[in-house]
Symmetry: C2
Subunit: 245 residues, 2 copies
DNA sequence: CGACAAGTTGAAAAGCATCAAAGTAGGTGG
DNA sequence: CCACCTACTTTGATGCTTTTCAACTTGTCG
């Protein structure tokens, strides 16, 4: 059977069985989408959010002139499309970077979390604040760092998130992104990403190895990225009681 | 007496009296900070968030090399510092742009909202998702638009938020920002902001009028900014019942 | 009136974009 | 198994946007 859904919430609290149950109940039908496939389009009416259970995906905003900004690279366990809950029509397009499995979570189920499991709701809230920090850091990198440091910061960020789920060895990470996609994440052209990757390689900070990246020294890469480190809270004392389920 | 605190939540729902009461109870002591003063520093331990009741403020991330990225311009009613709830130490510095009044909201009070007023918690959740959309749009502008469109997008954004609270006429908005601060918002240098403002002025899109900006045609400015329009939800049907307070 | 913060302007340089073309790899069909 | 197609990567040459540096102007407040 389906087992406990993978998600980001246990980064903040240890879920009790009742909370797990609420999460399982929240999930609707599962869907497979092939590489490059559309999970949901910008402008679609917002009736659900998604849980990414397998594969990588991306959220992006498309502009009128054909340019686009990739807003986030999603890994398994991520909740997709939730910023658009505040809108009538989705702000972001969700695309599969690799073949993915997503499960739909109707908005009504999200609403039920707030009454049925307040502590779970608080964890969800915190998880969204974490996403906001990720966005703040990306904005800072795009606004204030040169191309090489920007790219280093992205690599470090993805490394750290992969390491959290144990989906990577210390020195090698999966890298299913094309250089054009990386450019759309960092606000640069694919050509310049290519040259910048070469630069990082000459500095012995990363090495391209087919669909993976080797990271000879994470410390040096982190130093090079010039971004502040983040330490996430764990079971904050202001959280509601888990018993209240 | 203090009256109802000004906030962003009523953009999404009409609060019932009990919910207002919970919000009022949540507020701790009030503090005045002068122009340029620090409300909270990056790196400080996170024990509270703030409600901005008067004046303008900003959130920014400082980098090691002295550069900084301004992450948001805060207007009265905004909640300050909440992204750092997910962290042990604050990610952002909060500065007063004008003389401000802020009230402290201890984290324990935020936690109480989740058990005492689920619908209020859901509104808070939506409000944070809205902040995420703002960040997504800013990232898109900084990553993908040239300087002039970026600046136009910022002006339109602030206009719209000011218009919501009726704090502006149709064609003139307060503009307490220095060109250096605008540069730190948009990822540009103050010198270039100066030139870009001149460019918008020559295009008859904005006019500088001391501490204010005149906007001869919001339609043309919006068109020029090339950003998608956003329509926020109102009383979504998936929200918990207000009776559950 | 004098000092300091902010705005303005010019000239030169840097970083990144654009355009164009050639090279590589994986997948498909004959 | 080979040939081809397509998507992706790589490289060079050139141009544009933005930065940098520096000086000067304006405004504000003691």
């Amino acid at each position: 059977m389906a087992g406990y859904p993978q998600h980001r919430l246990s980064e903040f609290i240890e879920l009790v069985p009742e909370e797990h149950e609420v999460l399982i109940q929240a999930q609707g039908k599962e869907r497979q989408v092939g590489r490059g496939g559309v999970i949901r389009s910008q402008g679609d009416p917002v009736r659900e959010v998604f849980l990414l259970s397998q594969g990588w995906a991306l959220s992006c905003v498309d502009l009128r002139d054909g340019k686009r900004q990739i807003v986030k690279i999603h890994l398994p366990g991520d909740m997709l499309g939730s910023p658009s809950m505040a809108l009538t029509h989705a702000a972001e397009t969700l695309l599969a970077l690799t073949p993915v499995t997503v499960t739909s979570v109707p908005l009504s189920a999200v609403g039920r979390i707030f009454t049925a499991a307040p502590r779970l709701a608080a964890a969800l809230f915190l998880s969204i604040q974490q996403e906001r920090i990720f966005l703040i850091d990306r904005l800072t990198a795009v606004g204030r760092l040169p191309a090489a440091a920007r790219l280093a910061a992205l690599i470090v960020h993805l490394h750290d998130r992969l390491a959290l789920s144990g989906a990577t060895s210390a020195t090698t990470i999966d890298w299913p992104l094309t250089q054009e996609q990386v450019g759309d994440v960092l606000g640069l052209t694919p050509v310049h990403i290519n040259r910048t990757l070469g630069e990082l390689e000459r500095l012995d900070l990363v090495h391209r190895a087919g669909p993976q990246l080797e990271l000879p020294s994470l410390d040096r890469l982190r130093e090079f990225a010039k971004m502040p480190e983040r330490q996430w809270v764990r079971s904050p004392d202001w959280f509601p009681d888990p018993a209240s389920v």
